[in-house]
Symmetry: C2
Subunit: 218 residues, 2 copies
DNA sequence: GACGACTTGTCAGTCGCTGTCATGTTTGAC
DNA sequence: GTCAAACATGACAGCGACTGACAAGTCGTC
């Protein structure tokens, strides 16, 4: 996925924030840490689905994996974070796909194709995506945070979009705006898809939305 | 920004029908309540500007107006609410202006013109808008909530946008998407404007953003 | 085997927020 | 004018998210 590092960082030196993708040689400690994190997420997710996000306390989650509440917060910076990490990964994937789209493809089409990273899985099995959307839409604070996370995607994608647009003037506002518009379409499409409980393909909604905003594109 | 409410209605309009209809008018109690609310907002705002949103506790705000913390929460449902009410008013104003734009104006242009409700005041005096943006961007949870509030605007505006678009098919997804895209442009423009500290006109940023998303419009 | 890096639990405390109860104070009916 | 219902407030207790500090382990390395 990311071509960042495999050995550039000293083995055990302040790894607290580094957990983007599962690397292969992070050392035993880091791997157990990842394992705990994963387990924590799984358990938390189960509880969220079962009884709702708000109704689930951090104490419960911690107890369910047999650790103290304090330790939970050593793995996740907040309760919201447990959900948000799922979205952070998506941002990186979007950027990756977008960067590898054919150079001659126009920005809007490339964005649409990048979104296939999200659309694809929902067609193979919509359940996971639906659960994710349902949980995030039930708690207002969480919903808000997800929205904010998507503006982070914006910053990731905008530079890649800029490369596909020929307008050196005007700063990077144009590319950012176009990216933001595309992401807005994604959000709208997701909402529509959730509203019909995934019974109609997400791709259709997304196409509708993006074609309406830019008629004539793809 | 300042919500000069329905002051167009004569002061003692309901006086003569007061016993015939259930009073929708302020009434003394409701007016003192509004007064307290306003004072609370003013004081809170001062503290936010002075020492930051996160660094200001609800206890402080309450003490500054001489009431208990408990009573603060009888006027605002949350600390965030003190800031958010400023945005709720804007949504209504946008809808109002949009509804009154000439019917033959296309949707995108009408949206741009509606945004003048926001842009206008920033040209007369950018300070208020800048402070608002600065406060809301410094606290992540708050920023997220503002973003969410803007999706509420979306629901307000989308039906009005729909009327300006000729495509009965496809449900209301198209209008919603277009509205969301326009709002995304607004957000992006605001961010750019904040980044230059208001030294360049917001209108320019907004025009750039919206023209990039829909070339050829207005 | 000892040292240092790392992890954990416990405890105490802050802050946002809520329910409840016991006081006034206001309002509206009689 | 009186009185009861309606409302506003403060005080108190409590929950849940989150944090800092400390002490007690665990584990890899030299």
């Amino acid at each position: 996925m990311t071509a960042t590092d495999k050995s550039s960082v000293p083995v055990n030196f302040d790894r607290r924030y580094s957990d983007a993708v599962t690397t292969e040689k992070p050392g035993l400690r880091e791997r157990t840490r990842q394992a705990v994190r994963t387990q924590l997420m799984a358990v938390a997710w189960g509880l969220f689905v079962e009884q709702g996000y708000d109704a689930t306390t951090v104490d419960e989650i911690a107890a369910a994996v047999g650790m103290s509440q304090r330790s939970f917060f050593r793995y996740f910076s907040s309760k919201e974070d447990v959900v948000l990490v799922k979205f952070e990964a998506v941002g990186a994937m979007l950027a990756d796909v977008l960067a590898n789209r054919p150079a001659e493809e126009d920005a809007w089409t490339a964005l649409r194709r990048a979104f296939d990273v999200i659309v694809g899985p929902t067609e193979r099995d919509p359940r996971h995506g639906l659960v994710l959307l349902r949980i995030t839409s039930q708690a207002p604070a969480l919903r808000a945070r997800v929205l904010e996370e998507q503006t982070n995607w914006q910053e990731l994608l905008a530079p890649l979009v800029a490369r596909r647009m020929q307008q050196p003037a005007g700063g990077d506002l144009g590319p950012t705006a176009l990216t933001a518009a595309a992401l807005a379409c994604l959000v709208v499409a997701n909402a529509a898809w959730l509203r019909v409980d995934g019974t109609e393909p997400l791709a259709g909604f997304l196409d509708d939305a993006m074609r309406t905003v830019r008629p004539g594109a793809f």
